[in-house]
Symmetry: C2
Subunit: 148 residues, 2 copies
C-alpha cells in the first residue's frame, strides 16, 4: 500500500474502521457469537438510546432489548450467510452512517430457507465513535419489495 | 410551566425540539410543502451523507436524491394523513434518534387508498444539531408485517 502513496479518492481511516465495525455485525451474526455482538453494540451513555428494527418488525429500544432479539435470532437461525452489497459509508463527526443491502440465506434446523422477500434487506447502520472504537447505535433493516 | 418548577421526569428542551422537528417532517409531507421539506433536511457538511429509505425501497443517499424522492411522493399522493404513535425521542450529544410508527392514509387522485401493508410503518429518524436547529439526517421507514 505505502508504495502506491496516498490515494485521495479512497476511504479514510475512519471510514475503513466503520466498514470493519459494520462487517463485524454480520460476522458475529453468522458465527452466532453473542459476546462479539455484545461488544459491538453501544454501552454506557448510549445504551438506552440504542435502536434495532428487524425486517418487518416494530422498533426495539435499549441495549438490553436489542441484544435479547439478536440472541433469539441467532438461536433460531443456526445457519446464516449474509452477503453485503452496495455498502456506502459516511463519517460525519463522531457519528457514521452505513447503508447496505443484506443478501441473506438462512437455515432453520435441517431446512434451508431464504427469507420470503427474496432475502434482500435494505439496511441503515449508525455507529458512534467511543473510546473503545466505533460501536453500533442504530440498526434498521427492511425488506426490499421493489426496485425504484 | 415555571410555576410547576422543574420536571425531572419530563422531556428536556432538546427532546421537545427534536419531537417538533420530527412532527415537521409529517406536516411538510401532508401539506406537500417542498420548501419546508428542504428546510428540514440537513445541508452543508451533512448533505452528502443524508439517507432516506422509503418503505420497501432501497436506500437513497445525499440531500438532492432524497428531496427528489419526496417531491415525487408528494406529487403522487395529494391527499395524505399521517398519525404518529409510539414516538420515542433520545438525544445523545449533537445527534438525536426518534422511533415512531407512521399510520398513514393516502389518496391517489380521486381514489382513497391505504398502503397495502395496512398503513403501518416503523420509522427511525435521526437528527443532527446544527446552528439552525435540529435537521433531519436519516429517515428509514419500513412496513410492519407482524407484531412481535
Amino acid at each position: 500500500m505505502s508504495r502506491l502513496g496516498p490515494q485521495p479518492e479512497g476511504p479514510g481511516p475512519d471510514a475503513r474502521a466503520v466498514e470493519a465495525a459494520n462487517a463485524e455485525l454480520y460476522a458475529a451474526f453468522e458465527e452466532g457469537d453473542l459476546d462479539r455482538m455484545e461488544e459491538l453494540w453501544v454501552g454506557g451513555p448510549f445504551a438506552d438510546s440504542a435502536v434495532c428494527v428487524h425486517p418487518g418488525s416494530p422498533p426495539l429500544r435499549g441495549r438490553e432489548e436489542v441484544l435479547r432479539s439478536w440472541t433469539l435470532l441467532m438461536a433460531n437461525f443456526p445457519y446464516v450467510q449474509v452477503v453485503l452489497t452496495d455498502v456506502d459509508v459516511s463519517v460525519a463527526g463522531d457519528v457514521a452512517v452505513v447503508t447496505c443491502a443484506e443478501n441473506t440465506l438462512a437455515g432453520e434446523g435441517d431446512r434451508e430457507i431464504s427469507f420470503d422477500y427474496g432475502g434482500r434487506v435494505a439496511v441503515t447502520n449508525v455507529f458512534r465513535r467511543t473510546e473503545e472504537g466505533w460501536r453500533l447505535w442504530i440498526h434498521h433493516g427492511s425488506p426490499v419489495l421493489s426496485d425504484p
